[in-house]
Symmetry: C6
């Protein structure tokens, strides 16, 4: 696999949030590597609020990690 | 996307809580970008206590991050 | 909205726990602002152990934040 | 309510674990204060592995807090 | 109950992981003390991936605590 | 069991992510040691988005631990 995660450091909180979303999606790809199956499952998933909530929880967990890594971007505030 | 998260720093714990709610909602929008589908799903979701509980858990996770970023607002207590 | 969260600092661990319960409930109110719908859902929810467990998890997450904010109340032990 | 949580400090990790279990149970009582309803729900709950797992997750979250409060009991190791 | 948790300190990360598994199992025993009922529930549970995932989440939470207690075993790396 | 976790220290964030995935999978093996049963369950699991989301949450929790252990790889950024 190519390098997809060179660093946890980002310039802004918003870029950190985008990285958290990316970290969430990679785990799904690593568990189900077949893109066709993932695509087949996506519609049902995207319209299901329970699944949306589960995804948001994962993003929240990764965002906590990325925010700590960046010292919460305090110096740019 | 425009800047929606310039900083994690807030003046008060209550503003920090509002930011945690905002962070929770953005993840849902990024997973399901179609506002019509989100709207269609919302009624069922808002009346479902299990979904309410799931949403509250995400807010709690983000609030932990925002509170740490702000040094728990100890100096204003 | 009036000020409902002026500080995370409490005198005792038990008051901190009460604050964690309050933080949990506010998220539910912000997701479902209609008190009548919340009331209609409550009976089912309060008798459902799965929902009780979900609520307790949110309290646990908020209590972790409040306890950290208060330095775990070590000086009063 | 009488004082049920005077401190997070315990002498040993095992006492800390017991405190985490207690913290988990209090949230359930505060959400469903009626002991008869809780009792009626308990059999179903205690025989349901999903509920057991949910409860264990709450204990784990509280144990993290209690362990941090006690400096992980490093000095007694 | 005899002493089952004298310390959170372990020699290696792997022993720390084993301790996290042990911490997860104790909570299940304390919620459902009847070994016969636990045994009756286990087959269904062990073959159910959702339950496996729930168990793994608890182990992950406890491992975070044990790893922090041990300073992440940095000095032996 | 042979040594499978000698250290939490990795050279890069991406290697840390891989370690988090490994930590997630070991818990599943320890709960259900029978490889045939795991294999039988896997198809259903891998095509089920709820299960994918649960797995991703565990990876996120372990990644938080591994990232903290490595000081968030700040020095290589």
């Amino acid at each position: 696999m190519t390098t997809w995660l060179p660093t946890l450091i980002t310039s802004t909180p918003q870029e950190g949030y985008d990285l958290a979303v990316k970290l969430s999606r990679v785990a799904i790809k690593m568990t189900q590597p077949d893109a066709d199956i993932r695509e087949k499952l996506r519609p049902e998933y995207a319209e299901n609020f329970a699944a949306l909530i589960g995804s948001s929880q994962i993003v929240a967990t990764h965002f906590a990690t990325v925010a700590a890594a960046n010292g919460y971007w305090r110096e740019i505030s």
